[in-house]
Subunit: 372 residues, 2 copies
DNA sequence: GTGAAAGCGCTAACAC
DNA sequence: GTGTTAGCGCTTTCAC
């Protein structure tokens, strides 16, 4: 029963177009009329129907944000940052969670497509082909994955993984393991490649375990495999898995970092709260959220095509920038010297050129800023 | 440039109304025509514009879910459950985060109003008056708060708080503290009232600290106050605050549960991962999400009013049920006997009638199911 | 079974 | 400065 523009027009004795103008172009309407219209609108509790407005203007002032798993603490900071940035530009963000399900992902993006001006695809599990198809229906910015031809915001987990491996090498570890995350994950690929290369060039062996779900359970389930593999240090796909693994190792009577060192990725808030506090590769999630919104809204001012005209194809987009954000290794308490190689507290002989930050500085910046 | 219904009509040589029927009432169209239309639609990548459809049918098949703080791990299970339930009924859920800001809350509900068939208001911080006003614009179900005249889904934190206090009394504690959460929180009121009553009837003293933000920081900030107050047990507004408090006490050299017992509320996943594992009042968040969706979609079949007709006012709604979901005390490792009263492991003399579950059962069910 | 016409709530030329 | 007209993409009577 909400009042429509017609109700307000009737009540204030003007034509509906005047009411329309009162809201969308107030300066074009006589101050006196405006006051009267506004009063009637207020009285009737009238609110312009944004959907109807969007039908004709082509702009909803909404952004869709599609997330693989809202329960993963990695995402909330990104969501918050995106919302903040969107609000600055007078946009609202609608979040949808896909439960790591590619089918749900596709469905949701279609459901959102016409109700938003663009969609942020965060850690998508869809195929590249599907992402490209979808991007023909609605402007898209991809986060946490590289898709050629589309604007992407990535975090340099490759560099992060390398820094983590070098940190472990510096502590004397030579038998390493990598806990793999979800199979479709771009991040997973990057980490695997970089960690493998870093281990090789340090003369170490890297065992890949998994893939497993990127959760605590996924991590703890790999505890026995870690034990049996005989490695002394582990790099996990993310903090959740790292924490799960530590938990699982604990059950097996294996202590971290005395017996095994563990490194996570993401630096979620939780990683500071567990015992031991987690050594991890911090990813700039907030920056990613902000950047993605900016990229999506870059052409804010350009009107969407109307009527018979055809829209600009993806290829026509002025900029399909791909941004790589840097990561940072945060050294806490879950990593230590390889057991039986040196006394606690002493500095183990490093692996040659791989030198770490001096003990006074708790963090090491890795990675670089890239754009194109 | 997405194809419209007209493009499909042109391509398949039928009138647009036939295309429309092909999608919204396929049985009314000749199978052959249907196949042809569908083929053309597929070819052109046509998708019905849900916003335009909603304009005339009055139903978007979307639900809005407004959340106070998406970073609070309390919410994701609720969101997931709501999404699952909605999907069963062929609805999509759009989540919006308000950052605990009442103004943002109001703005978002208006932004969503016309793009969804109803809104779930989760732990709203708005005034009751505002909630009622909003409910005149769009169907609303309130979660975690009681608003007379509106459908509500609540969790019986009052019972939970009472069970927690009785548990502590049973362990011999007589000097208790309650960490208060956000001022506008309904949950906060319920807890305070119930905890106060339970303490009183057990002959114990209850100090109320706070209110503070419902976060780890909010909890750890109260550590010195807890120490100075001389209490031996604390009930926190939620798990996050409890965990923060434990962390803060740790810094002060106060051990949990040896020196001070701590109980949280919510039973977030994290509460099983910290050391000590947290004793907490488990809230049925998933059930709340499911129930709220069901209540919102109860009148699924009833069409929204159209044309000149007036909609049913809120008062006309057949059922404005208010559901109270029961909570459960989960006893883990953050609570123990009052220091200096009994040997560890021995059963302290209870506070009379307050008897707890036998040691073999880790959980105690509290609260009751209520409806109206 | 299909087409024609009206209209959901709104904006955007174009007159006046 | 304001009213008129057309139409966004779609559904839904109502004829035929």
């Amino acid at each position: 029963m909400p009042a429509t523009i017609r109700d307000v027009a009737r009540a204030s004795g003007v034509h509906i177009s005047t009411v329309s103008r009162t809201f969308s172009a107030p300066h074009l309407v006589n101050p006196e009329t405006r006051v009267r219209v506004l009063a009637c609108a207020e009285e009737l509790g009238y609110r312009p129907n944004r959907a109807a407005r969007a039908l004709i203007t082509g702009r909803t002032h909404n952004i869709g944000l599609i997330i693989a798993d809202i329960a993963n603490p990695f995402f909330p900071p990104l969501i918050k940052a995106a919302e903040g940035q969107a609000r600055h530009r007078d946009y609202h963000v609608f979040v949808a969670d896909t439960n790591e399900d590619p089918a749900a992902e596709e469905e949701l993006v279609h459901a959102l497509a016409k109700q938003v001006d663009g969609v942020l695809l965060c850690s998508p599990r869809m195929s590249n082909a599907l992402i490209e198809q979808v991007s023909r229906e609605v402007p898209v910015v991809v986060i946490n994955r590289q898709v050629t031809g589309l604007p992407c915001v990535m975090m340099d987990v490759g560099q992060g993984a390398r820094a983590a491996i070098e940190h472990l090498l510096g502590l004397g570890h030579r038998q390493l393991a990598l806990l793999g995350g979800p199979r479709g994950s771009w991040t997973n690929q990057q980490m695997r490649r970089a960690a493998g290369a870093a281990a090789r060039s340090g003369g170490a062996e890297l065992t890949v375990l998994g893939p497993n779900p990127p959760t605590e359970t996924g991590g703890s389930a790999l505890a026995t495999q870690v034990r049996d593999s005989g490695v002394s240090a582990v790099l996990a796909y993310n903090d959740l898995m790292a924490i799960g693994l530590i938990e699982g190792l604990d059950h097996l009577g294996i202590r971290v970092p005395q017996d095994v060192s563990v490194v996570g990725v993401d630096d979620i808030a939780l990683s500071r709260l567990t015992r031991p506090k987690l050594t991890t590769v911090a990813t700039p999630t907030a920056a990613a959220g902000r950047t993605a919104v900016d990229m999506l809204l870059q052409h804010d001012s350009e009107l969407r095509p109307r009527g018979g005209g055809r829209a600009a194809a993806v290829g026509d987009r002025r900029t399909t920038a791909q941004v790589m954000l840097q990561t940072e290794l945060v050294i806490r308490d879950s990593t230590g010297p390889v057991p039986g190689r040196s006394r606690p507290g002493s500095v183990p002989d490093g692996p040659g050129p791989h030198r770490l930050a001096d003990p006074g500085s708790p963090t090491v910046t890795t990675g670089g800023v890239v754009a194109s």
